[in-house]
């Protein structure tokens, strides 16, 4: 089980890696979304705001109207943001649930594929 602060730490690292990657920013420049992450085991929620491929903020709690909702165990979410697991594989095993479009799921996978190609 991961604490809320641990997930925020992982999200901060994820943001730094995404925003610092020029290739990724170019690829995702038409992606503007509000994403909610929900840890089903702890009940913690987080909001990520992305504008034109740049992660503007990560906040605790569910703020605004989400375009995508991702649910999973806290440990799974944490591992996903640290790049320790492949989110699509988790999705296909039913370990994470994504409420959103198939394109958004592919975008999230594309981000991890660029940052952590070996995952």
């Amino acid at each position: 089980m991961a604490t809320s602060d641990e997930i925020m730490e992982a999200l901060a690292d994820f943001k730094e890696q995404c925003n610092g990657n020029k290739r990724l920013r170019r690829m995702q420049r038409d992606w503007t979304k509000v994403l909610h992450y929900a840890a089903v085991d702890t009940g913690d929620k987080f909001t990520m705001t992305v504008r034109e491929g740049e992660i503007l903020s990560n906040e605790k709690g569910a703020a605004g109207t989400p375009d995508v909702i991702i649910e999973g165990e806290s440990e799974t979410l944490c591992n996903m943001f640290w790049g320790d697991i492949n989110p699509t594989q988790m999705y296909l095993k039913g370990e994470i649930k994504v409420k959103g479009t198939q394109e958004d799921i592919m975008r999230i996978d594309a981000i991890t594929a660029i940052i952590w190609p070996e995952v």
Partner: protein
């Protein structure tokens, strides 16, 4: 030894897999490879026969995708292959600025087998190109510009066809697109009525939406469209790329409703998955446009000698083996099995529907379609969700599928649904134990 001899002689499947994946990663489309691998759909096609395909490692699968309806006559159909081999011994493709005997013979055959007064053909290579031809004919013939298309429809991704495809994700990165396309809800006659203006040239739709989630149009809706189009001097275009050549239990899906469009678009199974060809078939009245513009719609590789002979052999095979009737029989067997699954898995199967061997299973949420595709492959079946609606898994096997193979597919669905049920139960238990 030629390069082809070398390639075909290689039997070390581990070497082939590594080489192919490297080439995809380095020279084709790395992210597509990743998606295939993530989904467990990284089958590298080796042997292909009947309703089946074998991975290069020798693993056998029943192919329920068939390239969205390319292989109605079966994978690597030997009779059609022999016809193509014979054609290759005699001809090359033929010049496009030449008169080609085989092109005329195929056009005549299509005039004979397509419904009503459809008569003239223009040939191209792919479905999207044939849709483009249909739209050009509609605009050229009527002198009007607007095309009414359907939400969630799929008509390909090329120039004039892309704006007709009813999903933004395909179009957004390529804007600005050709203007003049209006999208309305499918199966809603009033929506079409409301969209008609003095500039409407045509109404374009698939009689069964394929990528939109295997959604058949109601017969009364098609009849209503026909009446509406005739009254308003608007052309009716049926995109039968996926539904044509026996797939839905008739040679062409239009025959179910008795509605004849003014233009019918054909591709996919037209030449048995052995040589590319597609076409738009249209009425004599529309052909008048070609009198003043005989070379305005041209295609270097459309309707080559080889493609036309292969298509003639394919049509002969479909007719001789009465594949439309086979689609009815096997479709009925599938439907019985699928309805039983719906009864046994009410929380997972929302709907089963389709015509003939163009079937779809709808799940309650998007994630289940991709997860099912992954599990079905593990259970010996290649299937995939529809591109415009991931809640639906398509079942579009070759029409030569046997009763035993149908039962195998149903059994694979049963096993896969049980696994999804177990995954969901495990997840719910974890959630409850927090």
């Amino acid at each position: 030894m030629t390069v082809v001899d070398d390639i075909l002689a290689e039997k070390d499947f581990e070497k082939i897999r590594k080489e192919t994946e490297t080439n995809y990663r380095e020279y084709l489309n790395p992210f597509a490879l990743r998606m295939f691998k993530n989904a467990g759909l990284d089958v590298i096609e080796g042997r292909r026969e009947g309703a089946c395909v074998w991975d290069i490692s020798g693993e056998k699968y029943i192919d329920c995708v068939t390239g969205a309806g390319i292989f109605n006559a079966g994978r690597h159909n030997r009779e059609i292959t022999d016809a193509l081999k014979k054609a290759l011994d005699v001809y090359d493709m033929g010049g496009w600025i030449s008169i080609i005997r085989e092109r005329g013979l195929l056009a005549k055959k299509l005039a004979q087998i397509t419904p009503g007064n459809l008569k003239y053909s223009i040939f191209c290579c792919g479905g999207g190109e044939a849709v483009e031809v249909a739209i050009k004919l509609a605009r050229g013939h009527t002198g009007k510009t607007e095309i009414i298309c359907m939400e969630n429809g799929y008509h390909g991704v090329t120039g004039f066809a892309l704006p007709a495809t009813g999903r933004e994700v395909y179009k957004k990165p390529f804007a600005p697109l050709t203007p003049g396309y209006i999208h309305v809800p499918f199966n809603d006659l009033d929506a079409v009525k409301s969209a008609i203006t003095k500039d409407t040239a045509a109404v374009l739709l698939e009689p069964v939406q394929g990528e939109g989630g295997i959604r058949p149009a109601d017969d009364s809706y098609l009849a209503g469209l026909r009446k509406l189009c005739t009254e308003n001097e608007i052309l009716l275009i049926f995109d039968e790329v996926q539904t044509g050549f026996g797939r839905t239990g008739k040679m062409f899906c239009a025959e179910h409703s008795g509605v004849t469009p003014d233009i019918m678009v054909l591709a996919k199974s037209m030449s048995g998955g052995l040589y590319p060809i597609s076409c738009a078939v249209f009425t004599e009245e529309i052909s008048d446009f070609l009198y003043s513009h005989p070379f305005i719609i041209i295609n270097s590789f459309g309707g080559t000698s080889l493609a036309c002979l292969t298509a003639l052999a394919t049509i002969e095979y479909i007719e001789k083996n009465n594949l439309p009737e086979r689609a009815v029989q096997m479709g009925k067997r599938f439907m019985e099995g699928l309805l039983a699954l719906k009864k046994n898995f009410p929380e997972l199967v929302v709907d089963v529907r389709g015509k003939g061997l163009m079937l779809g299973i709808e799940f309650p949420e998007d994630s289940i379609g991709p997860r099912m595709a992954c599990l079905l492959k593990k259970n010996g079946v290649i299937s995939i969700y529809t591109f415009n609606n991931p809640k639906i898994i398509r079942i579009m096997p070759s029409l030569v599928i046997t009763e035993e193979e149908v039962d195998f597919v149903i059994d694979a669905f049963d096993k896969s649904l049980k696994e999804i049920r177990a995954q969901e139960a495990g997840r719910n238990m974890k959630g409850a134990g927090k």
